[in-house]
Amino acid sequence: MSASSHLRPYLIKLVLVAVLAIFLAQALFPFAWMAITAFKRDSDLYNPTNNPFLFNEPPTLAHFRLLFEETKFPRWVVNTAGVGLSTVLITLVLAVPAAYALSRLRGRLGQQLAVAIFLTYLVPPTLLFLPLSQIVSTLGFQDKLWALVITYPSLSTPFVAWLLMGFFRSLPQELEEAALVDGADRFTAFRRIMLPLAVPGILTAVIFTFTLAVNEFIYALTFVSISDLKTVSAGVPTDLIRGDVFFWGAIMGSALVVSLPVALLYNAFLDRFVEGLTAGALR
């Protein structure tokens, strides 16, 4: 009896370590696999007798050379950055004033408008891409990056407005009122007092929106079919796989190059995004 109660803390620790080790292994495995594959020689990679976890031949940068010199990957990175930045800009222009207004509209009207905007975040792109494909081609944007620039903010604006509304609510309103008393008009008070205070919230919104634009798949696949104009999310799965010839080394290299910065950045802000989603249930 006393022996087992002595052992108990160690047993708990052991179970904890085992559980965390298993979860860590499954979470990180695909990333490790990208890295191992991306640096392996083809002769090593495609030899079924080799242990796939080891470098049986010296590592190589050949896949990255292929990726950056002989494929359209660099072009897709530039496209993605351009679309991402434009999406961020449009989202901020639409969502920041909206969020500020929602935070100031007290009472039922404000609450109902905020919930209505949040509900539109629940409408998935997989339900909208068919009519949008017709709207895009009517506007003459089919096979143009404009198609993505005008549609992507619709995926980010509702959530960003909701997120920033909570942020503006947490800022002291007295500062703004003091500026109004001092004779500033509402726009100046907003721009000079509230906007600088909201910078941390806006940074969160920027990260959320940009990573969303890198992530997006179905609109990119539907609206843009010219290889030179693709984003990484549409280009890598469709144009690096040609018929039966799989450039697995280069594909994993591209997955690694895109995943790591995006994941590391997004992860740093993940808690704030989740707070936005759980705002109602925690209180």
Partner: protein
């Protein structure tokens, strides 16, 4: 008397002006959201009752013809079944694993922040890129899973299970990837709930001699039910509306057996060009979305009444 009436009128005028200023700030976002979400949503409902196809803008009314055709379309019925099956299985597995993982992460130990950060990476990584890595993991010839299974003598030396080439295995592969990707998200939410449970409650249960599982099932989990509701809601939403994982892993194959509603809608609506039929397929996501929307409204109203 007169002066208070005047003051009241002035205050009313000022608040009206304030509301006008606020509504004018909202106008661009609301207009844009209506044009890019509301209008296409209505349009997609209209499409499903029309004859429209790519290159033939025939908006004439087709009645229920598209829907009737769907119910004799075996691939559609399979896609509907797959969508429900995948969502339910992913939901159950994610909830169980998230509870285990959140319980472990709620402990205090050294390096907790780093481990938590690493565990969340699958959710933070772009879904397309990580799914491609999984496609390589499940490769027909060089699958590392098969290599390990052969080494462990679970399968014979010349066996090559086709993870993405056999209907049941393809569905399992899709479920594995969805669970892998969504688990961190559900874990963060569950963990947030667990850390919000007052310590006195746990300590009171400890004093009463409640064991680990009694504490978990009788105190912690009932306490955090609303927040688990949020995890359920978004896990379901992210699973059943997703197309990227299915499209990249299997493209609905083999022989169109692993389609979900979204991927079959894409295949029919865009690749085959039958917009009306595609819209009708996608519209089958709407009832589940309506349930989720009502649930969100319920959560929000709970917040405001408390």
């Amino acid at each position: 008397m007169v002066s208070t009436a005047l003051q009241r009128e002035a205050a009313a005028r000022r608040s009206r002006r304030l509301i006008t200023w606020e509504l004018s700030l909202l106008l661009p976002a609301v207009t844009y959201i209506f044009l890019l979400i509301g209008f296409p949503l209505l349009l997609s409902i209209y499409y499903s009752f029309s004859h429209i196809s790519v290159g033939r803008r025939d908006f004439s009314f087709a009645g229920l013809a598209n829907f009737r055709a769907l119910f004799s379309d075996q691939v559609f019925l399979q896609a509907l079944r797959n969508t429900i099956l995948i969502t339910v299985v992913v939901l159950v597995v994610v909830l169980v694993l998230a509870t285990i993982l959140a319980t472990a992460l709620a402990e205090r130990f050294r390096g907790r922040a780093v481990i938590r950060y690493l565990l969340l990476l699958p959710w933070a990584a772009p879904v397309v890129m990580s799914t491609i890595a999984w496609k390589w993991v499940f490769d027909s010839q060089y699958s590392v899973v098969n290599w390990v299974l052969r080494r462990l003598h679970i399968i014979g030396p010349f066996e090559f299970p086709q993870w993405l080439g056999v209907p049941s295995l393809a569905i399992i592969s899709i479920i594995v990837v969805q669970v892998w990707r969504i688990l961190p998200f559900a874990t963060v939410i569950t963990l947030a709930g667990m850390t919000a449970v007052p310590r006195e409650l746990i300590e009171a249960a400890l004093v009463d001699g409640a064991g680990f599982f009694t504490r978990l099932f009788r105190v912690t989990l009932p306490m955090i039910r609303p927040i688990i509701g949020v995890a359920v809601l978004f896990t379901a939403l992210f699973t059943f509306t997703d197309m990227a994982v299915v499209w990249i892993l299997t493209r609905g194959g083999p022989y169109n057996t692993s389609h979900v509603l979204a991927s079959w809608a894409f295949q029919v609506g865009i690749l085959a060009g039958d917009l009306a039929r595609g819209a009708a397929i996608a519209l089958f996501m709407l009832p589940a979305l309506a349930v989720i929307a009502v649930w969100v409204l319920h959560l929000v109203s709970r917040e405001t009444t408390q």
